[in-house]
Symmetry: C2
Subunit: 189 residues, 2 copies
DNA sequence: CAACAAAACTAACAATTGTTAGTTTTATAC
DNA sequence: GTATAAAACTAACAATTGTTAGTTTTGTTG
């Protein structure tokens, strides 16, 4: 592993603190203490507290957007697309569970352009997800339950994965994917 | 409907603001403005900002604890117990969606005894939930997937219901229960 | 060792925070 | 109409907030 830049170290430390208490409750002095330095010293590396938050959230949101676009443009069946979405969430969660806490709970503290940009990405993501489910229902690949409930319950579980998986000790990514696919999809197929 | 006491009005207004921005980001001046009064005037009715938060969260947590205890002590099958849990969450969510945002996202800002009390209730709740699933698996009422994943994915969906149901227009509680039961349980039965 | 950049420091700022004290207004009861 | 209680107000507090300016220390490169 190559050493993180000082800026990246700060962002990673911030993500952990944001996960524990939320963006608003974490002070720059808290963050500095976690880094073993003084608050003012942080500003040699970052521009503002807000920059930390937006870096954490926007990077992750773009990862999801990119992954979803690949899935949407693929030639898989609807069910296979859903499996790929589950796989995407597992991958991102294993790589950056701390950051996902901010994405889920602190996105509303983004400012101006970043807030608008984030909300558009989230909206498009949900829209793509919904379209995949709809297509699957019209295909008769997926049972015609309430579509909104399928979308909501699957997304809820995937979005909350960051809270749960750290409690499981050393769970293998592929086993996790397989089990998530079973539980989330067996009911709707 | 009987008129809410002034204190209850404040707590309800606070729950809405807490849902939008989180406990830490809402100031007493924000809350006062929402009530159309000055911040100092709030203190004629409440003791502290913390008291508002703990009232919102502890009341809800006790509702869940009470409901879960009734289900645990009933003579239903495991599946019926799970259906009753789903029904409990739907009922509580329809009655107080705003407060559930605080319970889900701001419980860590509870102080001392209330924090300990809350964490115990949450732990016991999850433990009861898990035991019901385990019993169902040993009964062969429930498929023997990864138990932890079943518990986690079901709870995630139920806990996030408060975010989603307000977007559905005038959805009937009983229809919602029926559909939730279908999507959450058909996969694991 | 001299030079330079990276990264830390001290000290302070203006704004905002939850909360208190004391006072005035508003509504209710006799 | 006067007394009482409820609910608002003004003014201020001590602490904490994100951030800046200016300075010193640390580490690297020739």
């Amino acid at each position: 592993m190559k050493p993180e830049s000082r800026k990246q170290e700060i962002i990673s430390a911030a993500a952990i603190l944001f996960k524990e208490k939320g963006y608003s409750a974490v002070t720059m002095r808290d963050l500095a203490k976690a880094m073993g330095i003084k608050a003012a010293s942080l500003y040699n590396h970052i521009q503002s507290k807000q920059e930390i938050l937006s870096t954490i959230i926007i990077d992750l949101a773009e990862e999801f957007t990119f992954g979803m676009n690949q899935i949407v443009n693929s030639e898989y069946s609807s069910i296979q697309k859903l499996e790929n979405i589950i796989s995407l969430h597992v991958d991102v969660t294993l790589r950056n569970a701390d950051g996902l806490a901010s994405l889920n709970n602190d996105w509303m503290h983004l400012e101006e352009d970043n807030l608008i940009y984030f909300e558009k990405m989230r909206h498009d993501y949900e829209e793509n997800f919904r379209d995949i489910v709809k297509k699957g229902v019209s295909n008769q690949e997926i049972k015609a339950y309430n579509i909104e409930i399928i979308v909501f319950s699957t997304l809820s579980t995937l979005r909350t994965l960051y809270l749960w998986y750290p409690k499981q000790k050393n769970i293998d990514a592929n086993i996790l994917k397989r089990d998530m696919i079973s539980v989330l999809l067996q009911g709707v197929i």
